[in-house]
Amino acid sequence: MTDFDTNKPIYQQIAEDILKKAVRGEILPGDRIPSAREYASQKLVNPNTVVRAFQDLEREGLVVVKRGLGNYLTTDTTRLEDARFQLAQKTLIQCAKDLRELGYTTKQIQQLLSQQLEVMK
């Protein structure tokens, strides 16, 4: 993978990549997702790493592995919504931490966020 983030495990980035595609609607509930080998070839990553990422997604109920048929995104939209919310939370926590490190108070962080949202409208 030429564009991976060097601070995160690669299997985690692969799982997040699939998840992001799902929440953005690029993959729909029940759609077939690539096999580990197809994905590894596309992104030039180790197939063993992709298998691990897909196993994590399967354990979380986001991907259903049908033996001999392939991997499918779950049709359980509640699960997908949960996963989306978790991703949002992770992003928020990181953002809040970074701002705290810069010395901003809770109130200032709230102000900064709403100002930024206003600018980005």
Binding site: N7, P9, Y11, L44, P47, N48
Partner: protein
């Protein structure tokens, strides 16, 4: 599982490998990294059975017997006869080793190697591709690639990596790739062995090393070299 214990190699008075130990589970891919003269090629030649170690041992488990027939080795240099066509290279190797013809043809096709040109008439990139197709066509338990990316343009490098690490990968075989192209290849490694002046600088699971040093394998090597 391949278990390498305290391997050492001397050529006369010169020590080229010293106390190198690592393991490589079946089905995994090892990146063998280090600058020129670090001992990568020597280690690969010992594993290929071409030169004996001065010290230490190479052990094989899981029913794999150490045997040249079980090891496919792609040397760094162009080692084919200049007049060979792809089919000549194949039949020569098939006289010595178990080969998979379909995998050979598929690899030539995947890598776009011209079939009716003599080896000497091929470009450097295509000579490497033809040698790679032969190495991949071997029915082996351990595949060794010594700098298959050196002198190859970036686009072709990706294609070569894709062929050897994904498309023609046998699930139950183990792979060792010696390369300078760390950043391009690092997402392909299960494990990493970094040599510096014949000694181990870093060894272990690629993911653990990346996390431990908080960055890429390349950065980890730079940081480890400073310590």
């Amino acid at each position: 599982m391949i278990q390498v214990n305290q391997l050492g190699k001397k050529y006369g008075q010169t020590t080229v490998l010293q106390d190198v130990s690592f393991q490589l589970p079946q089905g995994q891919f090892l990146g063998l990294l280090g600058v020129n003269g670090a001992g990568k090629s020597t280690l690969i030649k010992i594993l290929a059975g071409l030169t004996p170690p001065s010290q230490g041992s190479v052990g094989w488990a899981n029913k794999i017997r150490f045997d040249k027939a079980a090891v496919s080795y792609m040397p760094e240099m162009d080692h084919f006869y200049t007049h060979w066509l792809a089919k000549d290279a194949f039949s020569f190797h098939a006289d010595f080793f178990a080969m998979n013809k379909q995998r050979f043809l598929d690899a030539l096709d995947f890598l776009n190697v011209p079939l009716h040109k003599q080896f000497s008439q091929l470009s450097k990139g295509n000579r490497t591709r033809m040698r790679l197709a032969i190495a991949l066509a071997r029915e082996a338990q351990l595949f060794l690639f010594d700098e298959p990316l050196s002198g190859i343009d970036p686009f072709a490098r990706q294609e070569i990596l894709r062929a050897l690490a994904v498309e023609f990968r046998c699930e139950d075989a183990s792979y060792i790739l010696a390369t300078h192209q760390i950043l391009e290849a690092e997402a392909l490694f299960d494990r990493v062995l970094v040599l510096k002046s014949g000694k181990t600088l870093l060894e272990g699971q690629a993911e653990t090393i990346r996390l431990q040093w908080g960055n890429s394998i390349l950065e980890a090597i730079r940081s480890a070299a400073k310590e």
